[in-house]
Amino acid sequence: MRTRCIIIGAGHSGLAMSRCLSARSIDHVVLERGEIANSWKQERWDSLKLLTPNWQTRLPGMAYDGPDPDGYMAMPELIAFLQRYAGEISAPVEQNTRVSSVHYDGDTYRVATSRGNWQSDALVVASGACNRAQVPAMAATLPASMVMTTPLLYRNPDQLPQAGVLVVGASATGLQLAEEIHRSGRPVTLAVGEHVRLPRVYRGRDIQWWLDALGIFDQGHDEIDDLARGRSLPSPQLIGSREHEILDLNRLSALGVELRGRLAGFNDGKLQFSGSLGNVCALADLKMERLLNSIDEWATRTGLDSEIDASHRHPATRIDDSPALMMDPARQNIKTIMWATGYRPDYSWLQVPVLDRKGMIRHQGGIADSPGMYLMGMPLLRRRKSSFIHGAADDALELSAHLAGFLERKSRAARVRPIAGNLPQRADNPKPGLFIPRPSSPMGADLPA
């Protein structure tokens, strides 16, 4: 089967792109290994809610319209939202169609799936940023008696042995799971490396509102000083709960969770933790302070001060003077390790030579390093909000415009092609640029802006 564009993945990113292609009457198909919103359905723990408030949950052509705009969606609500969206936009989704390989021959993307083969001129990879848990190599050195799990496998604490648990990682995932598991009566030790501390609510408004208002979410990939670092930042320590609670290390300490440094190794029967806990906490506290200062400055500048709660600060992260550096898991009755150490996309099916030495797709703002190939839904893909649902909306609008331009150039080149297949590749393969081209002026592209 042949179509102009194949979208891989029917999550929020793939559906948003489908809506934008339909709006441009571009013939396409969305291939989905499972059902719509599959990862949200199959690969998330039971208690998870979105980190973004409902009012922010919007895709091109549809926004949350329920009774609780300040709440946070649980997974069943989000899945229903995405299913409804797929219906309203009449997305051409082929469910239960698992992609086994994608090849590019210089002209056509050839996609083999569990239900037949597809060909297309353009390809959108929207298969998600979190297909695999990123478990450090040292996991292999740990005793076989330890139960190891990841957030992709975990559903609720009842799955775990009734014993102590070491949670490794201090992102939103690590902190949420540490709290839930500790409250279930399984004492938790939390290994803390570099992390991002954010209050859920500041001066009476959701932190996501502030990040939006200050324009931080809209910072582009080309405005970020250290893009590689920005793309690998752990998710901020947030939880979406009815009470709008602040989830931070102080809260976990108060519950009795033991804080340790980054997990550094396993030697002689003992887990070793880094002595850098004080510094990673100081770094996170200082960065949060800086953000709150800029929020205060912005509120004053825009005359908001009198309308909202007074400025205030959060206590510094409290840690022991000398946190233990070693731990014998047997002696501490720790039987489980939860690797909340991040996720990776799975590109094992992708045979197009676009991967960098770290196995990530080379791209400029979502325009991949292969003609007509695009990427969606990755951290800081085009802007800071790219990994959020409302970020997919803007990214899809811009990338679909670029994609339409690509298809048009390709069609035009085909029309003037004297002998099929004999033209130099260059004409068909414009190098991906940093910026989305504006509609070209009839006078040519070189006019001053």
């Binding site: 440094g261 190794g265 000398s322």
Partner: protein
């Protein structure tokens, strides 16, 4: 802003460091360095270490001259005190690494430094190395670093400077994280 950019000078060539960073991102194999030291026993606890050659950017490199370090122990250890103790040299390494980091980060953040001094203190229970109590470790039970910094920056910016310097410090990493050490004898 341009004024500040040109006037801040902590003697750090940030452009060269950023250039190196970019180049080594493209050519990771050139980033593989080997640091070397050699040591000769003199007498008692007195030894002399030298440092000159190292490897980096794909080839053998060398310091401008050979540097020599005497190590010994104080007289209360029944030694001759010909030099600093090895554990004090670890403190020296940490102090100079963090201080260099402060200067580099300050330059990058366009903060003019006027003075930077660090004092370090490490606790150690001799029952460890003397084999009196096997529950006591040989090494430090902790290191305290105190920085006094005079710079054209707010207190928080200075604290952030020191935090970032720790984050990027090789010696800070070496002392806070375990490292495999393999020792061979011929």
């Amino acid at each position: 802003m341009t004024n500040i950019t040109t006037s801040v000078d902590n003697g750090v060539n940030v452009e060269a460091l950023l250039g190196a960073r970019e180049a080594l991102t493209e050519m990771p194999e050139a980033a593989a360095f080997k640091w070397r030291a050699s040591c000769k026993w003199i007498k008692g606890t007195h030894s002399r270490s030298t440092v000159q050659g190292f490897f980096g950017l794909g080839e053998a490199q060398s310091h401008k001259t050979e540097f020599t370090f005497e190590a010994d122990h104080p007289e209360i250890f029944a030694a001759e005190d010909n030099g600093a103790t090895p554990v004090e040299m670890v403190l020296v390494g940490l102090a100079s690494c963090l201080t260099a980091g402060v200067a580099a980060v300050a330059q990058r953040r366009e903060i003019q430094l006027h003075s930077v001094s660090a004092t370090l203190e490490a606790g150690m229970d001799l029952q460890g190395i003397l084999g009196i109590d096997s529950d006591v470790r040989n090494g430090f039970d902790g290191i305290k670093v105190h920085f006094d910094i005079d710079a054209d920056a707010s207190e928080d910016d200075i604290r952030a400077l020191v935090a970032q310097s720790q984050k990027r410090s090789a010696v800070f990493d070496i002392v806070t994280n375990p490292t495999n050490v393999s020792v061979e004898v011929n």
